[in-house]
């Protein structure tokens, strides 16, 4: 890369970080007094500016030769000791970063546009309007830190910052107990994951003596620690599993998925942006970034794939029976994130990124569509209370339908291609997990169209008091743009168009997932050996299954609405289990929360009597000292003068005649 290119990338990278940060600061500082209902402009400028810079960065990167598109750009040293840098602020820019940046800033820009109307009712902004936009811009900044950071510390900083933003936005309606509880739950569950993540980073530092990506990954590949000794057995697996712990928290995978459905208490744009399209993909990004570490440990890779497949199936079954649209979408998100984990676990990180990319479009679209419905239904989002909205909300219906088709894997839409690819790779490495993926695809099509048919078909019903109205222009524009993406994004990665998406990412994964995958018989090699036809038939199979599934849903919920009731009655136990989400929350409550609460009570008792006693005693010493010393602070001048002179005399005497 030429110095000019690097300089340009540096400028764009900084712009991507600083534009949303400036937006957040200005919106936060001047929002409530000066900007009020114009605050969205500030955030929009910041986020759209970041998007523009991300596009420029992408274009600039294209000008560099394919094998030289990765560069670490130091910005400044934070604290130095002598000539050593204790912590350096540096950006890592490579195709993976670029894809993430485009996804994050692009979707964010649309969500900010959408929020302008969503956060008002009948033209008046909601309470906290400016706060909302400040948080959104802050989130974009945090996510860009996470993605752009060139070492594990910055990754961790970004990681925690997005966690904070997520907390703030889930609890945006903090006056509502459910929202406050959901925010707390998200934060605490993420803390569990982040604790493991933090331990993983510490273990990396202990093992390799550095936290810079390049240095760590090189050492892992060479199999040595910083002192040149061989890495202890199992150390890499331990690091990978600890990092995975963080990824499971942030990306809502089993068993740390419980926070995501509750996170739907936040405003719908937040669900679209943070809890569907961007933040929850941080775990995928992190594993893809740390490919050197994960691929060095086959055990860890198997764990990743297994967790992914299990989560995909598990969440899809729950989504079958839920009635709250946003919750259905939340479980669907968990399930789709499971696909991405599965893909990474079978050495198809490029497919995972591809699915992440297409999923961002159609899931953001679905959430924004659900938001539009919620807006029209006066805050109700439970499909039991409305139906037949097809005529009332025509644009929302069309766009929602497109998103659903993409999610369901309807042939030739974006989700179809990316999901199919994952199943294909999974079948070639872990056939059982591949079959699970296929079953999940069937379930996905079913629950998605169950939701569509319940909400948009049948007799028209709206909740009492709701005045159904189609969304305003600011809300519809993002829906249309995202629909185009949901239809077309998939074509960036198909054979016909030369798999441009995958080739773009190839240099990043060349020495990690692709090299290791070849050793483990992953799909990359098989395409060349006539595997294309296997993939082709698989496409026909999964597409056909999706269509059959949709038809079944049509029969169940439009033609013969008595069937679901029958199924429910005949399998009441199963239904109850699914309805209660496998009782995971209850299990956590029983195993973790209640014992913790009981221990907490014991601790409080101990604290009140034992610790407080000790503390009282401990503080009594300084306190007593203070009272004793206070007598010297009499306020009498002569006393002060005497104490000074006496003090000087005592020092002189002590030092000279010690």
């Amino acid at each position: 890369m030429t110095p000019e290119t690097i300089e340009a990338l540096r400028t764009y990278g900084l712009a991507i970080l600083l534009a949303p940060l400036a937006g957040a600061i200005i919106a936060g500082a001047f929002g409530s007094k000066l900007l009020r209902d114009r605050t969205h402009w500030v955030s929009l400028l910041g986020v759209a500016g970041a998007f523009a810079a991300a596009v420029a960065l992408f274009v600039t990167m294209q000008s560099a030769p394919v094998d030289a598109r990765s560069v670490v750009i130091p910005i400044y040293d934070w604290i130095t000791s002598g000539t050593n840098s204790v912590f350096r602020f540096e950006l890592l820019i490579d195709p993976l970063t670029s894809v993430m940046l485009l996804t994050v800033t692009g979707i964010s820009t649309l969500v900010v546009i959408y929020s302008r109307d969503y956060m008002r009712h009948h033209g008046t902004p909601e309470k906290g309007y400016e706060r909302f936009f400040a948080y959104l811009a802050l989130f974009v900044f945090s996510m860009c830190v996470l993605v752009l950071g060139g070492n594990f510390i910055l990754l961790y900083v970004g990681w925690e910052l997005v966690g904070l933003c997520s907390y703030l936005l889930i609890g945006f309606y903090y006056g509502r107990p459910a929202a406050a509880a959901a925010a707390k739950k998200a934060f605490l569950v993420n803390r569990v994951g982040d604790f493991g993540f933090g331990l993983g980073i510490l273990l990396i530092y202990l093992t390799f003596g550095t936290l810079e990506y390049g240095a760590v990954f090189d050492l892992v590949r060479q199999g040595v620690t910083d002192s040149g000794a061989a890495i202890p057995d199992g150390r890499v697996t331990a690091i990978a599993l600890l990092l995975l712990c963080g990824a499971c928290g942030k990306s809502a995978q089993l068993p740390l998925h419980v926070w995501l459905p509750d996170a739907m208490e936040g405003p719908s744009p937040v669900s679209a942006l943070i809890h569907a399209a961007t933040m929850v993909t941080a775990g995928i990004y992190m594993i893809a970034r740390c490919g050197a570490i994960f691929t060095a440990s086959p055990v860890a890779m198997t764990v990743v794939a297994t967790i992914g497949a299990a989560t995909a199936l598990f969440a899809a079954t729950i989504a079958l029976v839920q009635t709250d649209m946003k919750r259905i979408l939340a479980y669907s998100t968990i399930s789709q994130l499971g696909y991405m984990f599965l893909a990474i676990g079978v050495y198809a990180a490029d497919s995972a990124m591809f699915h992440l990319f297409t999923h961002a479009f159609f899931k953001a679209l679905l959430f924004l569509g659900a938001g539009s419905i919620m807006h029209a239904m006066g805050g109700v989002i439970d499909v039991r209370y409305f139906g037949g909205l097809r005529k009332l909300l025509p644009y929302t219906f069309i766009t929602f339908l497109i998103g659903s088709l993409a999610l369901a894997g309807f042939p030739l839409l974006s989700g179809f291609f990316s999901k199919d690819e994952i199943i294909h790779h999974a079948l070639s490495v872990h056939p059982i997990l591949g079959v699970i993926g296929l079953i999940t695809a069937v379930l996905t099509a079913f629950y998605t169209f169950r939701m569509v048919f319940l909400a948009f078909f049948g007799p028209t019903r709206v909740p009492e008091g709701a005045v159904a109205h189609e969304a305003g222009r600011w809300m519809l524009l993002p829906l249309f743009v995202l629909s185009a993406g949901a239809i077309g994004a998939g074509y960036l990665g198909v054979e016909v168009t030369g798999k441009g998406f995958h080739h773009f990412l190839e240099p990043v994964f060349e020495h990690t997932f692709i090299a290791a995958g070849a050793l483990h018989g992953a799909g990359h090699a098989s395409v060349a050996h006539g595997g294309f036809w296997a993939e082709y038939w698989l496409m026909v199979l999964s597409g056909g299954l999706a269509i059959v599934s949709m038809i079944v849903a049509y029969v169940f919920y439009v033609r013969a609405p008595w069937i679901p009731g029958l199924v429910k009655a005949s399998a009441a136990g199963v239904h109850r289990t699914l309805w209660n989400k496998y009782f995971v929350d209850e299990a956590y409550s029983l195993v973790v929360v209640e014992p913790a609460r009981r221990i907490g009570k014991i601790c409080v008792a101990l604290d009140d009597y034992l610790i407080d006693g000790i503390v009282w005693f401990v503080t009594a010493v300084p306190r007593a000292l203070a009272y004793a010393l206070r007598t010297t602070q009499s306020g009498v001048l002569q006393g002060y003068g005497f104490s000074m002179v006496a003090g000087a005399a005592v020092i002189v005497v002590l030092v000279l005649w010690r």
Binding site: P622, R623, Q633, L637, G639, M644, L656
Partner: protein
Amino acid sequence: MTIEHIATALAPELILLVGACFVLMLGVTGSPPRGRWVSSASFATIVLALIAAVRVGSPEAGELLPGLWITSLTIYTRWVALSVGALIVLVNWHQPVVSERGEYMAMILLSLLGVLLTASANDLVVLFLAIELVSVPTYVLIALSRDDTRSSEAAVKYFFLGALSAAILAYGMSFLYGAAGTTTIHTFTNGIVSSNFSFGGAGQAQAMIGTMLVFGGLAFKIAAVPFHVYAADVYEGAASPVTGMLGFVPKLAGFVALCKLMSAFGWNIPPELSWMIWIVAAVTMTVGNVLALLQKNVKRMLAYSSIAHTGYMLVALLVGPVAGEGPMRDGVAAMLFYMAVYGVMNLGVFALLTAFRTGGRDVETLDDLSGIARRAPAGALALAICVFSLMGFPPTAGFIGKLYIFSGAFSTSAAHPMHDAMIALAIIGVINSAIAAAYYLRIVAAVYMRTEKDEAIPTGGMPVRWGLALCTIPLLVVFAWPAALTRSATDAVAVVQQSIFRNSEAVATTDPPSSVHTPTLRAPTTDHDDALEP
């Protein structure tokens, strides 16, 4: 040495002097007197001096005038003092009544001039005069700051005790003169090797008494135990904006003078004196923090907190300079860094106290502060940032300052004669930081969680608000990007060593000094050996 050269090199000092005279006249001339313009004129003077300091300031190879040597310690001190000085003027903008404002602002400018001269003093007499030039105007400022008996009482107390400390300082300096045979600071080390000024010989007692008394005199300026007793009464008696200045200006001058004193001995003092500073540092931190625990009056609390901060900075002073290492290892660089940060964060709290009034009087107690967060969220946030910085919490500059100081104390080389003791001192410091959190958090709690009184109303004008904002923002900026301040502090230290060791012709021509000749001297560390190479 042409007169132009001298005038250029001393431009900031000259600008301050002329500005002080001008402001003094401006306050009393005209009818009615043009007191309203005084604050703007003072601010402009300081900004001009700051520009001069940044533009023309470069270290000189030798003495500029007898007794004045512009080193890069001077350069650093100049811009720190003038930057914070500009903020001090902003915070004092509406003080006191218009008719007295001329004298008042002139005193602030003269006091700052004293700091600048302290930083370039190379002679004990000049040093003494410069230090007194820092102190004398502050007596006047306290008396003028409020129209009540409390400020008069504070002024009188401060004046008498200040005079006492000046006497101790001068007495100590006379001992040093007697021992060294010279008052020129940079030739002290010549005395060690060539004449009767030797810690090992007959002059030892004399030199040590002199050092201790000078330390005592300066301990008053920096409010170290046992010369701290005045602080609480004086801080409480003076008006808040003056108190904000009192916490910084004399302390800066005192620490710079201590640097000079230490470097006069090549940072190579006998263990008895090291232990004296060790004990003073430990006791100062502890006494400051412990007494602050009991206070309900924020100004008294901050008086004790300022004593505690002196203790932290003494730790760094004792670590001493380590050439080319930066403040993570270099105690003096850490101290200079901390001094700048302390000046800003301390002033920020007083700026907030200045910006509010309750029931017709200044805000002073925790009760007065309660509920401010609801009336003035921005002010409360600024206060919280300053307080968190004083506490040493991220994301503020105070965190980095404490990190530097304690990291330096933890990482002294094994050759450092106080190696183990420094670790113990660092631990005492960390424990003290924890104790300090107790009372600092009470300020934040009062502002954000208590609402029962909720009477304080914002009254300060725009300059005070700007002062508060300009105290707060740098704290965040320096946390995110400490490199610039760190580099300045590191550069300043290079000269603390060089001007005394490397540039001193005598050292270059005579035998390498120190341990060879004086067995009782504290053994120089390897790092110091580097510095001693001619």
